[in-house]
């Protein structure tokens, strides 16, 4: 996840654009994932997160640019053998039983770890004779996750995997996921709306707004680089002391100005103070349309 491309990136997105009619869902989208890292992809609804993941999974053919998985350019299906994709609504054949879904997974994949799938299903306490359509949201997510993980992917794309899950189910899925990441060292890209979830699970961050990446970096670095500056109420001229291009967001009240900047700032004028922002403050500022930044 850097501006400097490296050959070892498990997933690399290069200037990808995706157009639906006249509207661009993705435009000039570039980033790459660090091997073995869990990366959060954050953005408002309609930012293009699902489109990006679908394109990486081979479900869409990008209008512009290219996506590489393990160094190979993604084509329109079949999915790269090293890539696993879990769509947001976890589409499964609802009329079949859990046992049959596992069998379907085995038949549809060249690489299939049946023992691992069984272990994940057992860990989720899923009844193999229960029809998929009657499973709860959490159970269905865990079955879908078992089907993805049994492919033994090296890159895992999860499109809002924890959405619509109750807290207990969310915790269980998180545990399954993190165990898998630790055991296999796989690279994960996970889209999410829940900022608390990101802090718990992810090491790297991508913020997507309007189909483009506006912030990317290692979360600790992002936190270390950004600063919140608070000073007296002032007009635009009152921020001349800040380096050009460093301002992410400015919030003005009658007597106070709050500025988020993306780099350390030298000595502050009298009346100004500096503090560490929270991840939520940074992400929200970028989601509101703040500047372009990287953290490494």
């Amino acid at each position: 996840m850097t501006d400097t491309l490296v050959d070892s990136s498990p997933l690399r997105v290069v200037e990808v654009g995706q157009r639906y009619g006249r509207k661009w869902a993705l435009r000039g989208c570039s980033f790459e994932l660090r091997p073995g890292a869990v990366t959060a992809l954050v953005g408002p609804n309609g930012a293009g997160k699902s489109t990006l993941m679908a394109a990486a999974a081979g479900l869409l053919r990008p209008t512009q640019g290219r996506i590489e998985v393990q160094g190979e350019v993604v084509t329109a299906s079949p999915s790269h053998p090293d890539l696993g994709y879990l769509a947001q609504d976890k589409p499964l054949y609802r009329q079949y039983r859990v046992r049959e879904m596992l069998e379907i997974g085995r038949h549809l994949n060249a690489r299939w770890d049946a023992a691992h799938a069984d272990a994940l299903v057992d860990a989720a306490n899923l009844d193999r004779d229960q029809r998929v359509g009657t499973l709860s949201g959490g159970q269905r997510t865990r079955l879908a996750l078992a089907l993805v993980l049994a492919r033994r992917p090296r890159v895992l794309l999860l499109d809002e995997p924890l959405a619509d899950l109750d807290p207990l189910a969310r915790l269980e899925v998180q545990q399954t996921l993190m165990t898998e990441v630790v055991d296999t060292g796989m690279t994960v890209l996970m889209s999410s709306h829940i900022l608390g979830e990101i802090a718990e699970l992810c090491e790297d961050l991508l913020v997507m707004v309007g189909g483009s990446i506006t912030l990317s970096g290692v979360i600790d670095t992002v936190l270390a680089q950004h600063r919140v500056l608070v000073g007296p109420g002032t007009g635009p001229d009152g921020l001349d002391f800040l380096p050009e291009g460093s301002v992410v967001e400015v919030q003005r009240a009658a007597r106070q100005t709050t500025v988020l900047v993306d780099r350390p700032v030298g000595p502050l004028p009298i009346g100004w103070s500096s503090s560490d922002p929270t991840l939520e403050e940074i992400v929200v500022a970028y989601l509101r349309g703040g500047g372009q930044g990287t953290g490494r």
Partner: protein
């Protein structure tokens, strides 16, 4: 992939095969009843038109049921093709399971090919069985064996049901990919498939091969001012009848209205007053003679019958099959191309 597709569509395939078996059974039962009735009348040789052609034998042939069965046989390939083809992809789109399938180790082309083959192969094989079974049944009596090129017979024998079933399937599969809703694709598939198949199977086929024309002298005794001559002549009764009538002095077909326009002025006037039967018989005799004379005077002395000879049965089957297979391939290619586009359900 084969196992998964079979697992997904086996119920529909089984239902289609059962329907074909029921239709085949109905054809067989009809024939068994007919044969039994003819045997009861003392007929022994049933396949020779010169044998067993009494009025009682004719009455043993239940024409209404025969026509009903022909209609069912014509409709079966279209209905089953649509029944199997239309839901093939809309169900996947509806549950978004195409996202699941296409993110496994299965490419779009393979997914498409296997699904179409899993329903298409049993349909075609079953309809081949139905077509050749119908042909065999029809051949057991001369009543049912005749008219191999006639409408309602040509379409239901030999390879033709399989041909039409394949085309209907292809149309319905593509309708499913384009329309993407189950009900919509069933309705659109049925309308388009029925239209295309009926167009090719009925009116179009008679224009595919060169026609033959038999010309015979007008039978003076049969000439009538009110009807055209029957389409009888030396042509093979197994041929496909297209048209018949009278030829003018230039050898061109002439309509009854055109003959009336020529001859009406020279026809004798109706008897005046209150003519009795004898007067009318005399008038009719004069009228017919005058009509025949008028035809002769105007050079209308020949009948014609246009037809496709019986020997052209297999060339016609081959041509119709070729057109249907080509159209099916085009429809399937269009559907496969449409499937390559972005799934609408992806956000």
């Amino acid at each position: 992939m084969w196992w998964v597709s079979w697992r997904q569509h086996r119920v529909q395939v089984m239902i289609a095969l059962v329907v074909m078996a029921v239709v085949a059974l109905a054809v067989l039962l009809f024939q068994l009843v007919l044969v039994s009735r003819l045997h009861a009348l003392g007929c022994t040789v049933l396949t020779d038109p010169s044998e067993c052609n009494s009025r009682a034998a004719m009455d043993a042939f239940d024409e209404n049921t025969w026509h009903l069965l022909r209609a069912v046989l014509v409709a079966t390939p279209i209905v089953l093709g649509v029944f199997l083809g239309a839901p093939l992809f809309p169900r996947e789109f509806d549950q978004r399971t195409e996202v699941f399938a296409l993110t496994q180790s299965v490419g779009r082309r393979r997914w498409w090919t296997v699904k179409v083959t899993v329903v298409g192969a049993p349909l075609v094989l079953g309809l081949l069985g139905l077509g050749f079974g119908t042909q065999w049944c029809d051949g057991t009596t001369w009543f049912t064996a005749r008219g191999a090129m006639d409408d309602g017979t040509f379409q239901v024998r030999s390879i033709m049901p399989a041909t039409f079933g394949l085309l209907a399937l292809a149309v319905a599969v593509t309708a499913g990919v384009v329309v993407r809703s189950l009900v919509g694709s069933l309705v659109a598939g049925l309308i388009v498939a029925a239209g295309v198949v009926v167009l090719i199977a009925f009116p179009l086929r008679s224009h595919l091969l060169p026609t033959s024309r038999e010309i015979t002298p007008v039978d003076a005794a049969a000439a009538s001012p009110t009807t055209m001559p029957d389409p009888v002549g030396p042509y093979d009764p197994g041929s496909l009848y297209l048209a018949s009538g009278l030829l003018d002095s230039n050898g061109d077909p002439i309509s009854l209205n055109a003959i009336s326009a020529l001859c009406d002025p020279s026809m004798p006037p109706l008897p005046e007053g209150n003519p009795d039967q004898q007067d009318m018989d005399s008038y009719n005799d004069k009228y017919n003679k005058a009509w025949t004379q008028c035809q002769r005077d105007n050079g209308i002395t020949r009948n014609y019958v246009d037809y496709v000879p019986a020997a052209m049965l297999w060339p016609m089957r081959g041509l119709v099959t070729g057109i249907c297979v080509l159209l099916a391939a085009l429809f399937l290619a269009a559907g496969a191309f449409r499937l390559r586009a972005a799934p609408r359900s992806s956000r």
